[in-house]
Amino acid sequence: MTPLVAVDGLTVRYPGGASPALDDVSFTAGAGEVVGVVGATGAGRSTLLRALLGIVPRLVPADVTGSVRVAGLDPRTTGVADLARVAAIVLDDPETQLSQLTVEEELAFGLENLGTQPADMRHRVAQMLDAAGLAAFVSRNPQELSGGEQQRLAVACALVVRPRLLLLDEPVANLDPRSGHAVLELATALARDAGATVLIATNDVDLLASYASRLLVLGGGRVLADDDAGRAWASVAAHPGWMAPPAIAGLAARVDPGAPWLPSTVAEATRWLGVERGAADR
């Protein structure tokens, strides 16, 4: 079965950039997977997500070589509307994503663009309002919502069009941990129900640990590791120059240097250490 996302030899060079933002990147992701895209600043996470949507090179000029396929479509040549039906993105700042005067219109915006029938739109908007816990805000101006609520709305807007690929680019960068968990919880749960693939690019690896079972570790535009989360963190721990692992994985690496698999949540760690779970944990 062809993977939902297939990237082969992708190289992206921005005008005036000394080195490529992405350098010969190849990876695949299947339907329903939740993949974390991590790496130090400048590793190319944002560029990769934008290349998957064709934002690079269509809206942000760059020199792009290699192949990208999302649900069989090539983002560089597929029409905007056709790709919007298949892939959606959530960014870090709600102010750059929300533009309508009411929450329900914001949700409907993407559906309107795709020519959805009004009756169908009403149904889907109502359903998503409930699923996202935003029903109380239906007629409110999105500007009045808190940062966490706005990001939940942004996730809802991305998912209401039922994309097959959901991209999250630093979705929790400006949020407190509780809101951050709510946003990622919502995104992964709804995506799971819809069978969509999720790629989450973030600096907050401690938060990510509860959601992503697979990791793509980038560094200097290259793929450093592409593996199950535990093994990926073991690679990261073995290469101190790459990036910093989650706190728990870092500790585990010191407890058992050279371990091929490292836990990154409290639950994983207690199991790994062979200790009966103490308090409630994530």
């Binding site: 949507l53 934002i55 809206l59 942000v60 029409g79 905007v80 509307a81 919007a84 039906r85 959606a88 993105i89 960014l91 700042d93 102010e95 750059t96 994503q97 533009s99 309508q100 005067l101 009411t102 329900e104 219109e105 409907a108 915006f109 993407g110 559906l111 309107e112 663009n113 795709l114 020519g115 959805t116 029938q117 009004p118 739109m121 009403r122 908007v125 007629s139 101006n141 500007q143 807007c157 069009v161």
Partner: protein
């Protein structure tokens, strides 16, 4: 638009179709624009106030009118002291020191102010009883392209956003020891705000592109503001009223056909005093704002 922030009392005026309201607003404005007859202007204003009270927007309306007080005061002052016309000659109503107050000037000034207030009352009543999203949806219904409606929605969102950003930037400037009041400070604060706005606009345009906006596919509309036959009839009547009112205003209620009673001197002096006071208050407020550190 502030209608969304008001208590949700459902009055017929609030529920009235925006297109119909727009048509009748045009009727009121068109009539007041050309009318000199104070009775007609008063009638329109009273009607507006009654409607406002019934829709629960009487006090926001009154507050909005207050914002025009400086403008009204300056119009009045100019007309009283230097009337634009005198035909065939102006009769003197009173003399205050070196100033001569002409009856026609005072009357003309009062009528201008009355027209200004009437137009504002009509317009604000329409604004305060209509929600912005409904207006945009109605316009789209009328055939206005969705990109225009979208741009209008974005612009409405901009004002509170820019205000918030400006406040933060001014705070940052104060933290660096810079003055934060007066025109220079505002101009200096505008640079980061403008840069931030441009960056935000760029990101937003990428965002909406990614959501499929601007593709050649026909767009559907989520918000359906129902347009019944009654609404269309009401709107048509409103436009007819606009034409009738305009014509009547030019012919039967114009300056030549209105006869003024002779103005006693004390009236002229009182009007002068009120307009000077209003004008001075506006100047003082402006200076205080500029001087605040």
């Amino acid at each position: 638009m502030t209608a969304a922030a008001l208590p949700a009392r459902s009055s017929w005026l609030r529920r009235l179709n925006p297109i119909t309201k727009l048509a009748w607003m045009i009727a009121g404005v068109a009539t007041a624009l050309v009318t000199y007859d104070p009775t007609v202007l008063a009638a329109i204003s009273v009607l507006v106030l009654v409607l406002a009270a019934s829709a629960g927007v009487a006090s926001p309306l009154a507050r909005a009118m207050l914002a025009f007080a400086p403008l009204a005061a300056s119009i009045l002052l100019v007309q009283v002291l230097a009337p634009a016309f005198c035909r065939p000659s102006c009769s003197v109503a009173a003399t205050v020191g070196p100033l001569t107050l002409y009856a026609e000037g005072v009357a003309h000034g009062l009528v201008l102010v009355a027209r200004l207030l009437t137009i504002e009352l009509v317009a604000f009543l329409a604004i305060l009883t209509t929600r912005a999203p409904d207006v945009l949806a109605s316009l789209t219904r009328l055939g206005v392209p969705s990109s225009v409606a979208f741009a209008a929605a974005m612009t409405l969102q901009l004002v509170p956003l820019l205000r918030r950003e400006l406040r933060i930037v001014l705070d940052a400037q104060r933290a660096r020891g810079l003055r934060t009041a007066g025109p220079t400070a505002l101009v200096r604060a505008l640079v980061p705000v403008i840069v931030a706005s441009v960056e935000r606009a760029q990101q937003l345009s990428i965002s909406i592109d990614a959501r499929g906006f601007g593709s050649s596919r026909p767009r559907t509309s989520y918000r359906a503001v129902p347009l019944t036959r009654g609404d269309v009839l009401g709107a048509a009547l409103g436009l007819v009223a606009a034409v009738v009112g305009f014509v009547l205003g030019l012919t039967r209620w114009g300056p030549d056909t209105v006869t003024w009673p002779a103005l006693p001197a004390w009236v002229a002096i009182a009007v002068l005093a009120v307009s000077v006071a209003g004008f001075a208050w506006a100047i003082v407020r402006a200076l205080a704002f500029a001087a605040r550190a």
